[in-house]
Amino acid sequence: MTAPSEVDPGTPFDVEPAGPAGPGGERGARRTVLRYALAKAGGAVLSIGMVIVATFFLFRLIPGDPAIAYTRDVPLDPAQLDRLRHQMGLDKPLMQQFLDFVGRTLTLDLGTSYEYKRPVADLIAERVGPTLVLVGTGLVIAVSLGLWQGTRAAWKHGSRFDRFSTGLSLVLWSVPTFWLGLLLLMVFAAGVGPIPGIFPTRGMEDVDAPDGPLYLLHVAHHLVLPCLTLVAVVYAQYLLVMRSSLLDEIGQDYVTTARAKGLRDDQVRRRHAVPNALLPTVTLVFIHIGFVVGGAVSVETVYSWPGLGLLFYEAIQGPDFAVMQGTFMVVCTAVIVMNTLADVAYHVLDPRVRSA
């Protein structure tokens, strides 16, 4: 396996060669990990800085005058439009807008939404909860399902189970999320023919939702379809990565040795092959945890789930620059941080990376 290059192809910080097997090998190794982590953290900070710069200019490339776009259905006279532009800070020179933007971002002030007239940081904070519930649950299920099926499929590759599960996951992976969501909604929420619509058609909760423990059940009821949609379209990647990396391991000498020792098939798989095959999925899971924060825009839109994805979708339609920038930066930062953690975790988990 060529793990290091797969983990992090782009960062300019090279892995420090482990100290020559000198005295205090244990302490030396720990120091290398620390150094490595610091270097990675430095890289992450640099990346986040570049995200800030890119965000600002990227969002200025969108055509149209936000003041006009914002008031699309409200007839305003030029004086009012000017006042609006002033409020939005659009009347300042670009460089000044940029400096203001950087200054505010560094103090964690993500600006004020034009649409909601409220601080973007507040809007994001309000919507993080529902998103974590939806995407977090979805991710846990998708990872468990994907890894389990991937392991089974690889261990008995070529079997009917392998062909069926790989095929099904690939079909679901290629289906447009929005379409699948709408389909599930039409069938299981609205009800078609003899199938009753037993799930809600929208949202995370209804008016007059019950209190206490029943509230959790109420939310779980609303969670079923969005979560199902999300799992269906993402679990394939865990399945495929697990399957292929386990297939790599199956042919290795140590697996043969383990078998030769007379270990049961189950033990060979569990104790020897799977732990080694798990490594690539670690990266995948970490990166996806980063995306959790971004929510699932299509799923949240279909099911009117009040999370970050919905906020982002509405902001694009505005266009509400401040909210778009804010959510974009939060998601990017989360992905970068998680990517860095993945690098470090890899370093800790896989001795080969350290010695490389």
Binding site: L81, R85, M186, G191
Partner: protein, 654 residues
Amino acid sequence: MTRVGARLAALGLTLLLVALPAAQAQAAQRARTAQQVPRAEQSQAVRQAQAGQAKIGQAQTGQAQTGQERAVGQARAARDPQGGKKIVRLGVTQSVDSMNPFLAVRLVSSSIHRWMYGYLTVPDSKTLKPSPDLAESWETSDDKLTWTFKIRDAKWSDGKPVTAQDAVWTFNTIMTVDAAKQANGPAVENFESVTATDDRTLVIKTKKPQASMLENPIPIMPKHVWEGVGDIGAFENDRYPVVGSGPYIVVEHRKDAYVKLKANPGYWRGAPKIDELHVIFYQNPEAANAGLKKGDIDLIGRLNAPQFEALAGDPNIVQWNTPGRRAAYLQLNHGAQTIDNKPVGDGHPALKDPRVRQAIHYAIDKQALVDQVQNGLATPADGSIVPPMYQEFFWKAEGADLVTHDAAKANQILDDAGYAKGSDGIRMMPDGKRKLEMRFSIHTDTPVEDKLAQFLTGWFKDIGIALSTKKLDSNKFTEETGFTGLFDIAISGWSVNPDPEEVLATHLCSRRPTASGEGGGTESFYCDPEYERLYQQQLSELDRPKRVELIKQMQKRLYTDAPVIALYYPNNLEGYRKDRIAAITPIPEDKGILYGGSGYWPVYSLQAAALPAGPADDGSSTGLIVGAVAVVAVLAAGGFLLTRRRRSVADERE
């Protein structure tokens, strides 16, 4: 096998760990809301007592009797909260931007504010002319600059009286505090001063005469509540129950989810006939449609044609199809200029010629567009940008003014004007230097506009004009057709309020882009002395019939000079469940709209059938069943795995 059990347990635990913190935050918020409920009920009882007193004062309204009965019924309902609550659930596909009336601009928010607060006037339910709301009566001074309003004897929902001081505070706040100008700043721009001579008398002095004074869109806010909020721009109006003076009281708002309103038992016209009104947000229109069919919501407005047609055949759903408040029109680039008369953009020079614009008007078969593009769910435009729904202001083209589909006449006009046809059938400019090849700008991903473009291209070809379609995303579209002028012909449309002054103003010289190229809000780059004169005249014409006449002449000018050509007036398409809504009065009363109109009539007039069972009970029992099923499924899957594993292990052991 114990390992599998442990795995399952771990999975369940992880699920809980992910879900719990977020759910806890939600629960905490719920608890806060719940705490306020007893207080709400208590003050409601107080209010009911006061409502009884108020009724004596307004016995002459004729509504007092029903109002009192209602109050008694309410009191009974309050004692037995589960007992047959009458609830109507309204689906909306727009989320609330702000519950603060000083900030909110979206239709859904301003509609809800119409139900929460009183205004000086409200459009009459039949004629849409301004009629008394919180202002009982009014008069103007001889110089047309001073308006004196008599404020009605009404109560805020917390029992305090509504006075002229409340109105003074509201208007003055908007006039003096920048943050409060966001929603309705323009409405007070012409105000010189607002004062109260006593608690019942409000005096507004204007800088210039203002004929549209009675269409003032500003809700009167309770001074005693709002004085203490501090920064108005940061206040979310979330102290529940929100103190108002309209037919409903907001008791809960969950962002991007719903707004819950309760009937205001002390409402001066008498309490509404339902107990609760829920406004439920769907991001996805198809999901909202499904919700209506299923019965998750009872009414939904502002449907597009396919959604509307999808409701056909359901015995419980009424398809409500009435004249709409919108006009769809073509915008012709007849020489776009900035506010200092400098040409901008690249409009085709032929469009500067009014004869070419008129020929184009003759080329269009509006009835065919209605039938083919709008599936018959619209009215062909025989007027300009004010739709016939507003009978009073609508100008109808008749006689010599009327332009009908007539390709021969269009060709004749162009021939006479010297635009000769070339060998390819495309006409040339009179100087022979440029062909009449034009672009038609539409939005991306709008099938209706695609279809429209196909029809126009065919008809334009018949009169020797080559039309090509240019698709733009909405931001680019607004830029090119709104201030850079990079178009020849573009699709456009506008919704009109009961007073069309605002929409007519979008064709004024002053709305053209600034010298530095910033948008000024023009819808046509129009700048016509005649139109300007009429607009200025109507501004200060306080005699209503005379003003109506001026406004009709403005529409006639737009129709004959054709900087814009109205195509059709899309109908207002709505649907509601007749098994849930027993009665609803549209606005205007005979053939009007249910949601999104001005005023509160439809929502105030709502009558509901009682729910067969408590909806909350129903929902949670379904939830319980589903939860139980899910748990069983997980256990079954686990058991299945276990047996599989045992068997495979056994196999391998052999």
